[in-house]
C-alpha cells in the first residue's frame, strides 16, 4: 500500500506542532500504524520524506520502541500484564489461558485477523491487577475466564467497553489518537475506578482534609 496525499498532509501537520519537525517522528509513526496496520517500508519512507531523514534513521527509531509493530496487528491488540505484580495476582494464568484459548503464542495474531496477543510490562494500573489492555485501554481486574469472555466477545463483534473508558475501538483507530488526532471520546467512562478513590473515600468518611491555606 502506498501512502496517499491526505496522510502526507497529516504527517506534515504533526511535524508542524513542534519547534523542530523531527520531534514529530513518534506520533508520525503512530499515524503510519493507523493507516497501514503496522510500520511499513512505505510508511518509513513517508516519514523520512517529510522530515528530510534517511529511511535508515527512521527505521532505527521505529525498531527501538515496542509499540511499533513490523508485523500486521489484528483489530484488537490484547496485552496481558505479566510484570511481577500482575503476574503474581493472576496475569501469568490469564496469559497462559489466552494463549491456549486463542491458539497463538506471544506476539501472534489469530487466523481470523481479529486478535493479536502479547504480554506487556507494568501499565501503571497495579491497583487494578491483574490488568489486561485492549488497544491500550484498561480492562481491569481480570480473571482467566473473564479474559476468555472478553476475547470471544471481541472476535464475535459483541460491543465491549474499557472498565475506565469508552467502547473498545480498533487498534488502528487507537493509533490515530496516539498520533494526536482526538476522536472526541474523552468524555466517555468514569473519572476513576474504585481503587483510584480508595484513599479519598476513607478521608471523606473520617472528614480528613489537608489543612486550610495560609
Amino acid at each position: 500500500m502506498s501512502i496517499d496525499q491526505s496522510t502526507y498532509d497529516e504527517l506534515r501537520e504533526i511535524a508542524a506542532r513542534y519547534p523542530q519537525a523531527r520531534s514529530g517522528l513518534l506520533p508520525m509513526l503512530h499515524l503510519v500504524q493507523s493507516v497501514e496496520g503496522r510500520v511499513t517500508p512505505e510508511g518509513i519512507q513517508a516519514c523520512a520524506d517529510v522530515l528530510g531523514l534517511t529511511e535508515a534513521e527512521v527505521s532505527g527509531v521505529a525498531t527501538f520502541y515496542t509499540m511499533y509493530k513490523r508485523r500486521p496487528v489484528g483489530d484488537y491488540l490484547v496485552g496481558v500484564c505479566t510484570n511481577t505484580l500482575c503476574a503474581v495476582m493472576g496475569g501469568d494464568a490469564i496469559f497462559e489461558r489466552l494463549k491456549d484459548h486463542l491458539d497463538v503464542g506471544n506476539d501472534e495474531t489469530t487466523a481470523d485477523g481479529k486478535i493479536t496477543l502479547e504480554h506487556v510490562e507494568c501499565n501503571a494500573a497495579c491497583d487494578y491487577a491483574p490488568v489486561v489492555m485492549v488497544n491500550w485501554e484498561f480492562v481491569d481486574n481480570q480473571t482467566p475466564s473473564s479474559a476468555v469472555e472478553l476475547v470471544d466477545d471481541l472476535r464475535n463483534g459483541v460491543e465491549r467497553h474499557s472498565t475506565r473508558g469508552p467502547r473498545l475501538c480498533t487498534w488502528r483507530q487507537a493509533e490515530r489518537v496516539l498520533a494526536g488526532f482526538n476522536d472526541g471520546l474523552a468524555d466517555e467512562g468514569p473519572s476513576a475506578g474504585a481503587p483510584s478513590l480508595a484513599g479519598l473515600t476513607i478521608a471523606n468518611e473520617n472528614d480528613w482534609k489537608a489543612p486550610s491555606g495560609d
Binding site: 506542532r17 527509531v61 527501538f64 493472576g90 491497583d127 484498561f138 474523552a186 481503587p195 480508595a198
Partner: protein, 439 residues
C-alpha cells in the same frame, strides 16, 4: 496535628465529570494561575522553593532549586517538559491523576512554565494509556479555548503553547535525558551529563523536566502558600504525596497522605493484607517502598516513616511511593526473576554493564529458580550486581540490582530451598486472586 490522609491532588477525583474544565473551575481551578500571573516569575520560584517541594518522580530533587538553575541570560528558548512516562513497575499515581483531573496538571504546567519563562511546554505521556491521552488532549483544547493557554494568557502578556506528546513504549524514556532524545524524535537513550538539561536540554536549550505529580502539586502551593505545604510532612520531606498500594492488600489504590506516613498506617486504612479466597488470613512477606528499582522491605520495616530520609536510612529509597505488597504465598525468587527480565528487556543497550549484565542476571536467576544452580550462584549474582551498580551509564542499571541484592539479603534461605528441592517450593496458584485452575 495533620489528618492521616490529606486529599489535595485526589480531592476532586470523585466529582461529576471531574476531567472537564467546568468541573475543575467549580472548585476554584485556574485561580492559582491568576495569582501566579500577578507575581514575578522569580517569586513563583521562591514560593516553590520555600514550600520545600521535592521531585515526585523518584529522586526527590528540590523542584524550586531545579527551576532556579535555568540560566535566564541564555538567549535560547526555555522549555518545560513534564515526565508522564510512568513505567516504573508498581508506580500508578500519575496515570489516574491525569485521567481524573488533567486540568490540575495543565494548570501546573502553565504556572511552572511562567516561572521558568518557557513559551513552549510538553507533556510526554507514555503511549500505552489511550484514554488518559484523550483526556489530556481534551483538557489542553479546553484550556486554549478558555484563554488559559495560547497568546496573552489572562491578559498578562504571557504566551504559552502546550503539546501533548505520546511515547511509544520504552521504560528508559522515563529517564529524563533519554526522554529528551525521544522527544527530539530519536531512540530514547540517556545523554552524558554535564551538560545538564537546565543548561542544554531539549534542542540544546535550557529545559526543566519534572514528574507529572510534581507539576500538579504547584497550583496548590501557589493557592495556599508555601507555609501550608511545608507544614505537612516531615522536616526534610515536606508536603503530601500519593501513595499507591497494590498487590495483596484488601483495598488497593491511591492514598494521598503527608510524607512520613508508615506502611502500617496505610495497611490499616487499606484493610490489611488480603485474605485468601477461602477466607484464610495472610501475612505480609515483602514489599517495595518505591517501585521495583528500590530495595525490598519486609515486615520489619512496617514502621519506617515513608519519607526520603527515613526510607534511605533503612536501606531503600522512597522512589515513587509505589508500595507493592506481597504475602507469604509469593516466591521471592520468581518475583525477582520477573523484574530482572523486565530490566533486561528495557535496557537501552548503550552501556555494557547494563546491557550484558542484565542478560547474565537473568541467566543465573532463571537457573536458580528452576532449582538447577548451585549455592555459589548467589555469590555470582552479588558479584554481577557489584559490576553493574555504580558502573552503569544511568540509573536503570543500578535499579536492576536492587531487587536482587535486597532479596538475597532477606531471603537467602528461600533461594537455597529452590536448590534443595530442585525447583520452586511455591504454588503460584495460591497467590492469585481467584480460585480457577489455570489451563
Amino acid at each position: 496535628m495533620t489528618d492521616t490522609l490529606t486529599p489535595v491532588l485526589t480531592a476532586n477525583w470523585a466529582d461529576d465529570r471531574s476531567w472537564t474544565l467546568p468541573s475543575y473551575a467549580a472548585r476554584g481551578g485556574y485561580a492559582a494561575l491568576d495569582k501566579a500571573l500577578g507575581m514575578a516569575p522569580d517569586e513563583v520560584i521562591t514560593a516553590v522553593k520555600d514550600a520545600g517541594l521535592r521531585g515526585r518522580g523518584g529522586a526527590g530533587f528540590p523542584t524550586g532549586m531545579k527551576w532556579s538553575f535555568i540560566p535566564q541570560d541564555n538567549p535560547n528558548p526555555k522549555y518545560l517538559v513534564v515526565n508522564a512516562d510512568e513505567s516504573e513497575p508498581g508506580t500508578c499515581k500519575d496515570i489516574p491523576l491525569m485521567m481524573a483531573s488533567p486540568h490540575t496538571l495543565v494548570e501546573g504546567v502553565i504556572i511552572s512554565s511562567y516561572a521558568i519563562r518557557a513559551k513552549v511546554a510538553f507533556i510526554y505521556v507514555r503511549g500505552e494509556v489511550l484514554h488518559v491521552i484523550r483526556r489530556l488532549q481534551a483538557a489542553v483544547a479546553e484550556a486554549y479555548a478558555a484563554g488559559h493557554l495560547g497568546q496573552n494568557i489572562h491578559g498578562s502578556g504571557y504566551d504559552l503553547d502546550l503539546v501533548v506528546h505520546a511515547g511509544a513504549g520504552a521504560y528508559i524514556c522515563g529517564e529524563e535525558t533519554a526522554l529528551l532524545d525521544s522527544l527530539e524524535g530519536r531512540r530514547g537513550q540517556p545523554r552524558l551529563r554535564p551538560p545538564f538539561p537546565a543548561v542544554e536540554g531539549l534542542y540544546a536549550s535550557p529545559t526543566v523536566i519534572n514528574n507529572a505529580e510534581s507539576i500538579a502539586s504547584v497550583p496548590s502551593i501557589i493557592a495556599n502558600g508555601p507555609g501550608w505545604f511545608a507544614g505537612m510532612g516531615t522536616e526534610k520531606s515536606n508536603g503530601f504525596g500519593i501513595f499507591s498500594l497494590s498487590g495483596h492488600v484488601t483495598r488497593p489504590g491511591q492514598y494521598e497522605a503527608p510524607l512520613g506516613i508508615t506502611l502500617r498506617q496505610l495497611l490499616d486504612l487499606a484493610g490489611g493484607v488480603r485474605e485468601a479466597p477461602n477466607g484464610q488470613a495472610r501475612e505480609l512477606k515483602f514489599w517495595t517502598p518505591g517501585g521495583s528499582s528500590t530495595p525490598l522491605f519486609t515486615a520489619e520495616h512496617l514502621d519506617v516513616p515513608l519519607d526520603f530520609e527515613s526510607v534511605g536510612a533503612a536501606g531503600s529509597m522512597l522512589g515513587t511511593r509505589a508500595l507493592q505488597i506481597f504475602d507469604e504465598t509469593v516466591c521471592v525468587v520468581r518475583a525477582v526473576l520477573r523484574w530482572t527480565e523486565f530490566y533486561k528487556h528495557e535496557s537501552c543497550g548503550k552501556c555494557t554493564p547494563c546491557r550484558e549484565g542484565t542478560w547474565w542476571l537473568v541467566q543465573v536467576l532463571a537457573r536458580l529458580e528452576a532449582g538447577q544452580g548451585s549455592a555459589e550462584d548467589l555469590d555470582l549474582l552479588l558479584d554481577q550486581c557489584d559490576n553493574i551498580l555504580g558502573r552503569s551509564f544511568c540509573a536503570l542499571g543500578d535499579g536492576a540490582t536492587s531487587p536482587i541484592t535486597s532479596s538475597i539479603k532477606y531471603f537467602r534461605d528461600e533461594y537455597l530451598a529452590h536448590l534443595e528441592q530442585g525447583g520452586c517450593p511455591f504454588d503460584p496458584a495460591k497467590s492469585t486472586l481467584f480460585e480457577e485452575v489455570p489451563a
